[in-house]
Symmetry: C2
Subunit: 449 residues, 2 copies
């Protein structure tokens, strides 16, 4: 491949072909890696680098895989044989913050946590809060329409993005969306781009909708229940009482067991984490506590910042705990809130029948569950995928979805038609073809090749 | 045209060809009407009627214009020569309300106000709140991604819709979106459909995201200022204080003058309406009052339900007041909040230079202004459109948009390319062609023919 012309395509463009770079570009955090190695990794630090690389790729018919920090969980950024990785993690500037207009303009490579640290002095924050916030980029967050802990109260990523700069397959840049809160001129291509996993274009700039810092104290509840059914009933009762916690998480019994072993701290049962913020948080937190206790929860309530952080840390450590027991495959089904107990039961039943380990946590405020398979690296994964298939089918039968926040990537594409139906799948493929007639934008991701 | 085969296409389908029906279908509330008359109006009461009519239209190559209550302000539902109007205002059932899952499934023809009246007994509400709520449909609201008074705090319509049933040009039905709060399987066709003004398909069912009734009292502030600059400064200061009013409206001096004449109640200056709800509303309302008064506002604060309703009514009557002075053309530009004073000044300047009357109100929480031209029916509209053109260009130059919540319809389509740029406009047209290869779905709306 003519990499010299790529190196000459734009001043300052870095084309990395070291073993280390090529190897790293094969994988994300899903545990899967692409077959073969990419031809190179472009380390873009300017929009023009992305444009030049796309022009070059179009000319040479080379498939392109956009990449941020590589923290995805569905294989969406995995880059294989004959493909070019365009890494935008070096584009991490904050171009503008306007507290008065409650917006920020940023490059895609900035880390979620770094952005919020920088916004603090403006008295503002950006709500999307994936569990990976310390290591994941804003661009990746947008490309997958990622969620996180705060969605039930503060919305999904799509609701926190006003406009996007996007480099198309041709290398042209378009700007979609609006700098304003409202705007309905033409079709909503910004919303279409959000969650499109690099199949329509490469996000090179984002105008984000900020929120003012939330006034009032933050109150946190941590509670252990006998099992998931009791825990889910408590969560449902909190929703029914019209309480809107910023965070409402449910960690299942298998996960708690692993967490206990990982941390060396004795814990058992199912864990519920609640965080109440905003004006009046204390009184609402006490109402929530009463509901939790009435449902058999062994609970503590605190507004101490350190103790609060520790309770939140219990939830954030789940992934690391599971990871310490083997290879993990994190699933991501979402169901209507009321079907959560059923979904926990299904996961347990499926695990039993297939003889696999499934440790489940849930964003209980919005019905998004992460049934996580934990297995030995050398173990054949047939049983895991057969079990996952039953969980996917179960979620769809409950009016749910294959993926609440991680995306389809390579791991879930074979179930895509099952959820969308043939006609919608055809329309989606045709829309992809409008943006990418030659099929060089992240081919084989979301849609099967 | 073979209307007999249309009448035979589905049991119970009503094909109305009375003079009255055909004449009514030519216009919406924009003051514009289509050239010529439609061939018929299909009064659908079942999804199957819409499907049968679309199959018939596809077979016969007849253009179709979907219609709800006809309250649009951009001519999007106007149906002319050779076209078929499909009126879904008779499809007005609530199919499901789940307070536990915080959703409702409805047919498109239900009126916004009727829906909220029905949700009250469930302790829930649906946030989109167009000024026309008493007479406009939920389907029309979604088809235009309409806004209303509550957007700054409670979001735009797109954020309040989970899933849609859509009849395609072929007559096939697809279901897009999710019953769950989160869901990222494939491209977000629900978001693409919202605000597409009938150019991609006909919405026949909507799964709406409900909110629990807002706890706490409601406090309302009405305040008069010397001029829009002072009023806008007060609004900006409220935003800067991180207060998030449910309603923050600014009625300009020209509108207040007309309102005063219309109601016979002496009023002058610019009027600001604020409504604070939720926990802690009273204390926050008092903070807001202090800001308003510090900016020279002559203000009153009340939590009396009747008095509160009267103050809100001042804002809601603006359109009727203007209407009583002649023909109105309501524009709908949106600008970043901080540019509002500039936009008010531009409207006044343009009105002066062209010798036209422009009465402006704004959703001040989100920067959406309605410069409204008031003129005699017989007056030539050249000066009006030349003035509107300057206002559009000004909005775009300020980082704003042509239309915040009314849509493009026929009235704004010639400015579409100016805002979107050639490349994006081409992509949008190609997406339309994916859904509507024969070009029979609301042709000439949004996109010029």
């Amino acid at each position: 491949m003519d990499l010299d012309s790529l190196r000459a395509a734009s001043p300052g463009i870095v084309v990395d072909t070291t073993d280390e770079a090529l190897e790293a570009a094969r994988a994300d955090k899903s545990g899967h890696r692409a077959t073969g190695r990419p031809i190179a990794v472009v380390r873009a630090t300017e929009v023009e680098h992305v444009q030049a690389a796309m022009r070059w790729a179009s000319e040479h018919g080379v498939p392109v895989v956009p990449r941020g920090a590589g923290t995805g969980l569905a294989g969406g950024a995995n880059t294989g044989e004959g493909e070019l990785s365009i890494d935008v993690s070096g584009m991490r500037r904050i171009l503008e913050v306007s507290a008065a207009d409650q917006l920020a303009v940023v490059e895609p490579g900035i880390l979620n946590a770094d952005l919020n640290a920088a916004l603090e002095e403006h008295g503002m924050w950006w709500a999307p809060d994936p569990a990976s916030r310390a290591i994941s980029t804003v661009g990746g967050n947008i490309a997958t329409n990622a969620g996180g802990l705060l969605c039930a109260k503060y919305g999904v990523t799509r609701e926190a993005v006003l406009a996007l700069g996007v480099v198309l397959a041709s290398g042209e840049r378009i700007d979609v969306g609006h700098r304003t809160v409202k705007g309905v001129t033409g079709l909503d291509l910004a919303a279409l781009m959000i969650g499109s996993e690099g199949t329509l274009g490469i996000i090179v700039e984002a105008t984000l909708r900020l929120r003012p810092a939330v006034p009032g104290g933050v109150w946190t509840i941590g509670a252990f229940f006998d099992d998931e059914v009791a825990a889910a009933a408590a969560c449902a009762a909190i929703t029914a009482a019209h309480i809107r916690p910023a965070i409402m998480e449910l960690v299942g019994t298998v996960s708690v067991r692993m967490l206990s072993a990982y941390t060396g701290r004795p814990m058992q049962g199912a864990f519920v984490l609640l965080q109440l913020d905003d004006v009046g948080a204390e009184a609402i937190a006490r109402d929530a506590l009463a509901i939790v206790e009435a449902h058999g929860g062994d609970a503590e309530l605190t507004d101490d910042v350190e103790r609060s952080a520790m309770l939140v840390e219990v939830r954030r450590q789940v992934h690391f705990a599971l990871d310490s027991f083997g290879t993990v495959l994190v699933e991501d089904v979402s169901v209507p809130r009321t079907r959560m107990p059923e979904m926990f039961a299904l996961c347990a039943d499926v695990a039993d029948r297939y003889g696999v380990t499934v440790a489940t946590s849930a964003h209980a405020g919005d019905g998004n569950l992460h049934p996580t398979f934990v297995f030995d690296e050398d173990e054949p994964t047939d049983a895991v995928w057969a079990a996952a298939d039953e969980i996917f089918q179960g979620a769809l039968a409950m009016g749910g979805t294959l993926t609440g926040e991680h995306g389809v990537g390579v791991l879930k594409r074979r179930w895509l038609g099952l959820e969308l139906g043939d006609t919608q799948l055809r329309l989606q493929r045709e829309i992809k073809a409008v943006f990418d007639p030659a099929g060089i934008l992240n081919p084989g991701k979301v849609f099967e090749g």
